[in-house]
Amino acid sequence: MAKRQKVLVLYLKFPSLEAEVISWATFDGTGKKLHMTGDSDTPPYPTGLDALLDGWRLFQASQAIPEQPGEEYRTSYLKHEFFFEKLEEGDF
């Protein structure tokens, strides 16, 4: 039996796992499903907490970085990023 990693990335409305999902990405290392940009219009979970409740393990979260002086109102990338994983066993 081998192990493969599935990765779920959630972008939340504010930096707490209770917050609603506003953007999401899935990468399936088992090869069972090929995910791609624009493949779903509905988030896989309503909030980050719901992903935990479904067995996803959080392994990285974005830090709070103070805005650069003089650039406080500049907007750019989505801010509240959370990486989750699930390990799946099987014959791959």
């Binding site: 940009t37 109102y73 907007t75 750019s76």
Partner: protein, 297 residues
Amino acid sequence: MAEFASSGCLFFDELIDEQTNKEFLDDIGHTDIDKADSVNDFYKNIKATSSIPRIPAGTPLKEAFPKNSPLDKIFKNEVVEGAITSLVGSNTIVDHQFLHITFPTKYFNQANQRQMSQANHQDSTIDPRSTFDVQLFYFPTEVTKEMGGTRYHPGTHLRIVNEMAIAKYQNILGQKSIVCKPGTIGIFHSGLWHGAGVNFSENIRYMFKVRLQPTEKQELLWDPEKKYQPLPNRALYWTDETKDQTINDILMRSYPWQEADTNRLDKINVVKFWRLLTGHKKMDVDYWLTRIENELY
């Protein structure tokens, strides 16, 4: 104009007439997918036979297309001309043009290739200017949902990012895909996040794009008589719901993908953009800028 300032995009459904669409498709040698062997050969044929000219970057739009060619007719359409003049002025120049062709599944199966959508991106490169370019899209055929028309994210145009660095956002709440009738024209602010979808239909999908640059300040180009006046302040939070909707409601629109905190910065940036578009350098909507500009030290 407020709609463009807020969402970064405008659409004109079925604007170009059937005859011109047909002329455009005939001109590029539109054919069944069975007759198109490879993407490269298909492009080679179009480049060899169509009237779409090679336009050196920086050419005035007025001199870009051969007289009476389908593209000349499209740019002389009074709505297209009016929109371009309003956004980038009457002396706009061509940055580049391209005929985007998205092949259906059958082609990828034949070629034994993985059929993937294009990731989300912002075109060109990091662009912190106040000046903006526009990208005009022309769809000569119908685009159905399964044809995977251009995916776009309304309200993202003022976020400054580095091209493909947003590719990891596979799906974004509120994402839209262009589904349209033949002859539809779309206009994007050059900062709008977007990507091409996958074509699961039986037919080839075409999208002709031109990027246009202004040569003058984009201030009230849409209001030649310079009549625009900002609306007075209104009550905040403890509001009067009986009042009619105004353009300030368009400018203050939130989008589902915006974070709770950054949503306020997005609004501030729309007001700053509106200041540039109107020339009213102190105007405000809902006190977002007045509050933080009240610095007494």
